[in-house]
Amino acid sequence: MTAELVRGQNHPLPDTRLELRVAAGHPVVAGATLGDDRGRVAGAEWIAHPGAPVRPGIEVAVTAAAEHRIAVDLAALPDAVHRLSLLLALPQGGSGPARFGTAAAPFVTVADPAGTAVATYTITGLDRESAVVALELYRRQGAWKVRAVGQGYEGGLADLLADQGAPAAADLAAAVLDAAAPAAAPVPPPVPETAPAAPSSATTAISYAHPGRRPAAPAAGPGAVPPPEPPSGPSAAPPSGPSAESRPAPVAGDAGGWSMDERLYNQVWGMFEDLARTVAAYRSARDFADHRLDRAIDQVLADPGTRVGGAGDAARAAARATHEELMGRAQEVLDRDLAQLTAESEVVEPALPAAYARWDNPVWHAYRAPEEPPMAVRLGDLHVPERSALRIPFLVRLPLERGLWVDSGPGRTSAAGLLDEAELRRLALDSAVAHIARLLAAHPAGTLTVHVLDPAGGGAAAFAPLVETGVLAAPPARGAAGVTDVLAQLTERVDLLQMAVRGDASEDLPPGFDPARQLLVVHDFPHGFDDRAVTRLRYLADEGPSVGVHLLMVADRADAAAYGPVLDPLWRSLLRLTPVPDDHLADPWVGHAWTYEPPTVPPGSAVLWQVLGQVGEARRRNSG
């Protein structure tokens, strides 16, 4: 599989013989510099460029071209070479763009000898730069790796070479561009050439460490790459003052994964873990400080000699001062970490795809039914009281491993207590419909079939968007008979699929069998349920997820109290969501209580209808 690199990301190389391909859409000069173990370019003979295209192990093109193919043999490089940087520069004069900001983003591919792409990198974010370091191949503990760099230079090739320590950089840069010039004016045919140039942006200093994950990324094992010094190009101004060096600007998608979808998912979970741990550190320091203060004061009181008088007061004051000082330091660290995570959240949130995004994200307005389901969907937001403005998207993997339960009961929180019962039930239904809409929107057309049980018809108004846009398999089932029918049908489906899976005979399913995943939405439980139906529901909750039958309940547990403890396992097996903010979710690392907030559609927004309309249309196209 091809790894789609983001700036700063590295990737192992399978072979020492590689082909670097550059596609720029406009003529660029490609070159390469060879650096020693400290990244310095010792002299002109360490640079492959149009004026001197052949160096041991590498050959670049002699002209500027819109496409380059550069053959590299890392094994043939001199032993002293520890780094090979691929450079791209815009030819001077001529009709081409004078800066990368006005041209299409160059695209670089690293391919193995068989021509299979190993890693690709699109150099984005360039503006006034006219030369960039696209990527570098570097030795790490005997093996070679590639890293996406994307460091650009406003001062052009001369600045770039000077930054790498090349002697007489300005002259060298002029010579390189001159050598490439003759072919630059007429647009050259896309000849397979060597020497792609490396794009980069000098406007931001790059750190290869992950901003949020810096502390101890799980991937950063003993073999991991230490973060090199950020290139200090002349125009490389750190974005936010002196702290920027230790706290680089975060980038969306800056995490491991093969696709942007997966990277963002991992990044969000990384932020979740970092926030959990940061808060754990703060709480642990706070508890310790409080405990210490109590102990010190107890000690003062326990000693008759200091209980009253100046000595006692002084001891108490000293204990309080220590407490203040400790809390001050803890707060400082917390603020530092939260500022970093907030900055990361600010870049990540707008970059999220629809399935991960809040309903007010503009991405929903451009919604079209996806070709492939995403890794996860967002079921709401999470935050801790220390910084309630910092919201972590609550992403849950697809397919759902557990059923969902939107609790319409009064719950324990003050927010729920302020609302009357009817209002809570209405909110629960609304948020359930928003979850259903999101699940439908996340699935490609025809791969999720939704059944709704609404025995008393109490949810008719809330379910209207689903009914009217035609996204349901059938109208909501009414009455005891409707409940029995749907449950019988789904139970039979689970039985059949389980038999097929066990017998390894999935091709023997009856003709016309709907291959889509099924989502059963249950409203008004246990109204309209007899004992048999309850048993079936429990069976579906237990056995359904493994064969693609999922459950979403909108219920108040108190309504089913008559069943006694028999239903406890059912409620426990479901992921409880609330229609109002409630702190019932624990994280998997330290077990803080997180406040969950359901996703809300902005008031007056038609986004839900619009998205459901798209889903319904895709569904009709698919079946028609």
Binding site: R214, P215, A216, P222, P226, S284, V333
Partner: protein, 192 residues
């Protein structure tokens, strides 16, 4: 430049040329001593476990070991249990990563211990060492080799503690007995 430490020696963890360390790795390596006599191929597996105990004013606050691989605050991480040792041939068999910048402010000492989980004494272990590595560039800062294994099943290797605005490492190298770090608590306390 590695400092070969002797018992009780302390070194400062300031970087050469100023700046303090941000991330260090405490690596532990060992090999089972060869057995004499018949059936030499029946290798004796020795499971040593590295643990780190975090102290605030001499009270244990958190511990990182093979059953709790990451401290709650995320600053100390164990890379995982190695049950047999010797795989690295001189490399680290178990490692604990410490992000010094993120260690909570009230934690002032981190003590590293090694226990023989399988109960063999250090007489049956050879080439055991612990070393402190600057994780940002892989440079070894200090190495402490266990010499002359004796009739004990645990070692309190070293501690990293706050000194001024930075951190210091002190080699402890004291023998103790116990299967996991809990058994060692009484032996650790005198070193704080």
């Amino acid at each position: 430049m590695t400092v070969n430490m002797t018992k009780g020696q302390a070194i400062s963890l300031e970087k050469q040329g100023g700046g303090s360390l941000t991330q260090v790795r405490m690596g532990l390596g060992w090999q089972a001593a060869p057995r004499r006599g018949l059936f030499g191929s029946r290798t004796r597996e020795i499971d040593l476990d590295a643990s780190a105990v975090l102290f605030a004013e001499k009270q244990p606050v958190d511990v990182v070991f093979f059953r709790h691989l990451v401290s709650d605050d995320g600053s100390v991480r164990h890379t995982g249990d190695n049950l047999v040792g010797g795989v690295g041939q001189g490399g680290d068999d178990e490692a604990i990563l410490v992000d010094l910048q993120r260690v909570p402010v009230h934690i002032d000492q981190i003590v590293f211990t090694v226990n023989s989980f399988t109960g063999q004494t250090f007489q049956e272990v050879q080439n055991a060492f612990c070393r402190l590595v600057d994780e940002t560039n892989g440079q070894e800062l200090a190495r402490y080799t266990l010499d002359g294994g004796g009739q004990y099943t645990a070692q309190i290797m070293a501690k990293v503690h706050r000194a001024g605005s930075g951190w210091q490492m002190t080699a402890l190298g004291s023998a103790a007995n116990g299967r996991t770090f809990q058994d060692l608590m009484p032996s650790i306390l005198p070193h704080l």
